[in-house]
Amino acid sequence: MTEFNTSTKEIGDVNVVYLNGFLDAHTASVLEDTFSSLVEHKKFKLVVNLKDLDYISSAGLGVFMAFIEKMRENKGDIKLTSMNEKVFNIFDLLGFPLLYEIFDNEEDAVNKFTGNE
């Protein structure tokens, strides 16, 4: 059984990262590897789609914290989209809505990068 995995899709110079499953201290390295690989390929504009993310602990939230500055220093960002209520509540509890742009749907998040409002 796979607890957690990611997949990515390119839309122009924006990369959409899809998270699936349970993101905890055991699986956080999977997301770290995904972000590291994108940085290596100079992909700094990320939309992270959390539609299929069932669970997140602080270890998972830490991965976002570890990469956000890197993306912004390179004129990119990590924008979050489509998270379920349970996952949003955890983000909210830690004040993440102040640090990250959160969108209801993926298209709006991608458009924010590309300027197609």
Binding site: D24, A25, S57, A59, I68, E69, K86, L93, L94, G95
Partner: protein
């Protein structure tokens, strides 16, 4: 699997691998529901226990996977008590009282978020230890109906 349920079924002993967090979450999830907590409350309790055990693995056992974590649950006076014991190094997270997320962002540090979550999601979180013997964290959630 590194798991052992004793006869009373109110205790779970697992090895200190992050691979066992999923086992711990399932155990707590079942117990919380049995005791009558709502889905939302159950999720909060499960996350708090995950955070406590993650801290034990990282800070008490320094990510070494072959040491015991003992979780014992009980229910009395509408209190769900979760006692977690480890035999690693004592760490004292008591100094983390308030969350300063801006500081975390600037320093790119994330330690402490888990303790903040535990204290926010549970009614009481108490750390204690007997030096060179064991460490204990007791998490309490009140059942209100």
């Amino acid at each position: 699997m590194n798991m052992n349920l004793d006869n009373s079924k109110n205790r779970l002993i697992v090895k200190s691998s992050t691979a066992n967090l999923i086992t711990i979450r399932k155990f707590i999830n079942n117990k919380a529901k049995t005791y009558g907590f709502s889905s939302s409350e159950t999720e909060d309790i499960v996350l708090a226990v995950d955070e406590a055990c993650t801290n034990i693995i990282k800070h008490s056992y320094h990510s070494k996977p072959n040491f015991d974590i003992e979780i014992t649950v009980s229910f009395s006076d509408n209190n769900f008590n979760i006692k977690i014991i480890d035999y690693g190094e004592t760490f004292e997270p008591a100094s983390i009282k308030e969350l300063n997320l801006e500081l975390y962002r600037k320093q790119r540090r994330v330690g402490g978020l888990g303790v903040y979550l535990m204290k926010t999601l549970m009614d009481d979180v108490t750390y204690s230890f007997v030096k060179n013997k064991y460490n204990q964290v007791l998490l309490i959630k009140k059942l209100i109906h």
